[in-house]
Subunit: 158 residues, 2 copies
């Protein structure tokens, strides 16, 4: 299998235009665009997104956000962990390992990861070593949390 390079994406008009190709374009991206237009952030600021380019086209992305240990309600012992969201590969590029590469990149930091598994995605997450958590209505609020436990880390009992 080919190897792909994961890049931390910078916020500029080109990146934000490319983001429109992804189905999960929403308030987060619109907020970045406004911040850029209003000079609240500079051109080429770091974003929470990582992506893979095919040539100069962005074909896969995810957002990775570090949560501090004080807010950890998933892992034991409580610790800093990543929330991973908006993992998405453009339709014509699916099935080629782009999603897997992004998730492995996230796992390479050796921190726990929590994501909200979308419909029909449990097979993918399980293949990547993720497990479903014990559902807690007050914490999970209808989400499908899948988590990745590094060695020595287990589920937090609520």
């Amino acid at each position: 299998m080919e190897t792909y390079t994961v890049k931390r994406l910078v916020i500029n008009y080109k990146t934000l235009e490319e983001f429109k190709q992804f189905k999960e374009y929403g308030i987060q991206e619109l907020s970045m665009l406004e911040d850029l237009q209003d000079n609240i952030i500079e051109n080429d600021s770091e974003s929470p997104f990582y992506g893979i380019y095919f040539g100069d086209k962005l074909v896969a992305r995810m957002s990775l956000y570090r949560i501090e240990a004080a807010y950890d309600r998933y892992f034991s012992p409580p610790q800093d962990y990543f929330e991973l969201w908006k993992l998405e590969v453009l339709p014509q590029y699916q099935g080629k390992g782009y999603g897997k590469t992004l998730v492995q990149f996230a796992q390479s930091f050796n921190l726990p990861i929590k994501t909200n598994g979308r419909q029909q995605s449990s097979g993918f997450w399980e293949k990547m070593g993720f497990e479903a958590v014990t559902y807690n209505e007050e914490r999970d609020r209808g989400e499908n949390p899948y988590v990745s436990y590094p060695k020595g880390v287990s589920e937090q009992t609520l």
Copy 2:
């Protein structure tokens, strides 16, 4: 337009079997099934779901969960509000007002409501009087929060 009756759903094997028809079936529903099987909850227990039946078939549903004022990070003044999720109408029954009826039912309690607007759903939420919030990465974590403000309630400044 026809009027539909919104019912609070009870947890039993029939309801849980009907839930499988909905795309957003996930860990929450599996957890209910396990609780029923393990006698952790009784047959016909109340669920956080509300639904509309066409004859004896469940054709639309939503989950409504009350968050206490102490945890309110969306509304000013801070107050109890509803989180609404898994609003879904079965494909053959869409476009007939079922979704609208469920949301109006939620609004009839006269509490603020917060939901996570899915792809391409902003038109629906805006028609129902919802507004997009000012995105906050730490709070919203990639979500698309749409909120409904009753009279006298406004956005919380973070």
